[in-house]
Amino acid sequence: MNSRRKKALKTNLIGYSFIIPSFIGYVIFIFIPVCFSFLLSVMKWDGSDAPMEFVGLQNFTKLFHDSTFIISLQNTVWYALFTVPLTLAAAMLTAVLLNSKIKGIVAYRTVFFFPYVASLVAVGAVWNMLFQPEFGPVNEFLKWIGIVSPPKWTASVDWAMWVIIIVSVWKYMGYYMVVYLAALQGISDDLYEAAGIDGATGLKKLWYITIPMLTPTTFFVVIMLTIQCFKVFDLIYVMTGGGPGRATNVLVNHIYNAAFIDFKFGYASASAMVLFVFVLLVTLIQLHGERKFTDFV
């Protein structure tokens, strides 16, 4: 082997040795369990020493006749449908407003980012108290401004999901605000100057320059948000436990209940497969859309 190939090999080996630890962790904790999950979805297993039974596509046919599964799917889609645009708008707006150099701007940015790092359990408990139907501050305020019978929030089938949506937007917009802030730094001031010379006002600048220039970031944010929304579980578990009834029962709730309360690991894996396919489809659609709609940059 000549010395050039030797050198290339050595560089490669050094490179691999850097990624091997992380890659091994990935294989053991993510890749293998995911493959196992694929396998489990066509099996029947209760998680013990008892043998696994091959049942083919039976789990999947059962799924589509399970009213709880259908409800959890509907709830998840509903949740994603509203959380994604609302979080996106909130993040983009606050990023634009906070993209200035006034004194104390870092403090403002920290305040908006803080919910993202706050403990989920604490946040859930406090929001529950705020939304308490009889004595909570939110309803007291609504009654004060004249709404005679405000909604019962988490004690109401119609409004429980909205509470989750509101809390989600509040919690997650901080992270995407930071993403947008970074992207905003990349928009050249020349564009704004040129627009200013042509007589554009603030709002026009926002609509014709800022938003189009942010489209790549927006696509990234939409994909991340959609995936995150389909995976939602912890916030719901803490705030409503999937209730009242099944009003906030989402897909991951269904998987969790099937696996750890009913001990039906095969069935739960089939449910997880559906989640996987859903998220994959949505991501593919969005990636395809990106090629068509992203502005030249």
């Binding site: 294989v27 890749f31 293998i32 493959c35 196992f36 396998l39 489990l40 099996m43 209760d46 998680g47 013990s48 020493d49 008892a50 043998p51 696994m52 408990a125 529950n128 108290m129 939304f131 308490q132 139907p133 009889e134 004595f135 909570g136 019962k152 929030w153 988490t154 004690a155 109401s156 089938v157 999937g242 209730g243 009242p244 009834g245 099944r246 209940n257 750890f260 309360i261 009913d262 001990f263 039906k264």
Partner: protein, 441 residues
């Protein structure tokens, strides 16, 4: 070339996973005493060799039930060291499932929090068959008043009753004295109870006193419905719950109790409601007695309270109550089964029961001496001995493998019923439908 390496790696990973998944181990029955020999038990305990025993427990901070019996056992057998593996009660079943799924030898002794979980543990061969041990040591089972019989699965004794809790009626003596009303007696019907609760409700806003308090559990409706022993929560038709839901909703609508929605969303605990004197009465389990005694010692409240027999439906005798048994079993994979058995035997014996009684915990074993010990514990109200006598005891939830799944669906419907999203008839019809589905799985 690189793609081929990746493909081979993936194939290897999948087939590895496949192998791992399909090992079919023939389920082994729980081990029996025959292999260890009859003298092993005595030598383990009498020897100077240190033996470590692990016991899985919950909420050690708020109840002395496990600590007291562990300490008493260690005093009797100084060479045994007991380690309590403690978890928060809400997470206990999950954590135990994970521990046992790993096939570990710990915990050696398993405290069973919800009796129905022992059915799943038996199906997964995680519990030791205690028949031989029981026979060898000639355990007297009459002291359990039939409770241990209801614990048998497939006719085999896998667990013994350690503790028994039954429902009684707590009341705030100070609040009754303030309005000059007589304390609840030991022989009230549920209708008389409702009348008394209405009488005791007074005030508005933050100074309001509710006549009584019903915690958010479904048990607060279903328990009184199963009290006569005619139906259970695994019954096929939940129509028997109707009258009880009518009463629960009536109490709520007339503001005799706090609204279910408020209690649920605020995660308001019954301990704080009673101790902050927001209610005059409260039906609750006997475990609350030791909490009340301890909290008074700690200075968390300062009023006089009493406890009476639970109200009963018309036509069945006073002292009929319901509740649950805390069974205790041995891990089939334990490495010290003989020592574990000695602990289980001690914990469920009358000797152990006396230790529990002296600590204000209600044992499963019963006798006149135990009732006397319970009523003479420090802090127990003097005129409340009647509540300790049980004439009729039914399980609040029957022991059934499907109980957990059925419970999940009927509790979801219970939620909707209590917040008024569905009317009672629709709610019960939904319960019937969904429970039938869950049972059929």
């Amino acid at each position: 070339m690189k793609a081929r390496i990746l493909a081979i790696l993936s194939l290897a990973a999948v087939s590895l996973a496949g192998c791992g998944g399909q090992t079919t181990k023939a389920p082994e029955p729980g081990g029996s005493l025959a292999e260890t020999g009859t003298t092993a038990v005595d030598t383990t305990l009498a020897s100077d060799e240190k033996v470590k025993l692990t016991v899985s427990t919950w909420d050690n901070e708020s109840s002395p039930q496990f600590k007291s019996i562990a300490n008493a056992f260690m005093e009797k057998y100084p060479n045994v060291e007991i380690e309590l593996i403690d978890t928060q009660s809400a997470e206990y079943n999950n954590k135990l499932t994970v521990m046992l799924a790993g096939g570990d030898s710990d915990p050696d002794v398993i405290m069973v929090k919800d009796a129905e979980t022992q059915v799943t543990m038996k199906d997964k061969n995680q519990l030791l068959d205690l028949t031989d041990y029981i026979q060898k040591d000639s355990i007297d089972r009459s002291i359990y008043a039939g409770a241990e019989e209801q614990l048998k699965m497939d006719g085999i004794q896998y667990t013994l009753p350690f503790r028994k809790d039954w429902y009684v009626l707590y009341y705030n003596k100070d609040l009754f004295d303030q309005v000059g009303v007589e304390y609840p007696g030991d022989d009230m019907t549920w209708d008389e109870y409702e009348e008394l609760a209405r009488k005791m409700t007074s005030g508005e806003g933050s100074s309001k006193v509710y006549g009584t308090h019903h915690h958010t559990w479904m048990a607060m409706v279903s328990n009184w419905a199963v009290q006569d022993g005619k139906n259970t929560l695994m019954s096929e038709d939940y129509e028997f719950l109707k009258g009880w839901y009518e009463q629960a909703l009536r109490l709520q609508d007339d503001k005799i109790v706090q609204s279910y929605a408020n209690l649920k969303t605020g995660s308001i605990h019954y301990i704080s409601v009673f101790e902050q004197q927001q209610c005059a009465m409260m039906p609750m389990g006997s475990w609350f007695i030791s909490t009340l005694i301890q909290d008074k010692k700690d200075g968390k409240y300062d009023f006089e309270w009493g406890v009476a027999k639970l109200p009963h439906p018309d036509g069945i005798p006073a002292g009929s109550t319901m509740g649950a048994v805390t069974p205790v079993g041995i891990n089939a994979k334990s490495d010290v089964p003989d020592t574990a058995w000695e602990f289980v035997k001690f914990a469920c014996s009358q000797e152990g029961a006396l230790v529990l009684a002296q600590n204000g915990v209600f044992p499963a074993a019963t006798s006149a001496a135990i009732v006397e010990a319970l009523s003479s514990m420090e802090g127990f109200p003097e005129d409340s001995k009647g509540a300790l006598e049980v004439t009729n005891f039914v399980f609040d939830r029957p022991l059934d493998a499907k109980m957990a799944s059925v419970r999940k669906v009927i509790e979801e419907e219970h939620d909707l019923l209590m917040i008024g999203e569905v009317d009672i008839d629709t709610g019960i019809a939904n319960m019937n439908g969904r429970a039938a589905e869950a049972r059929a799985e």
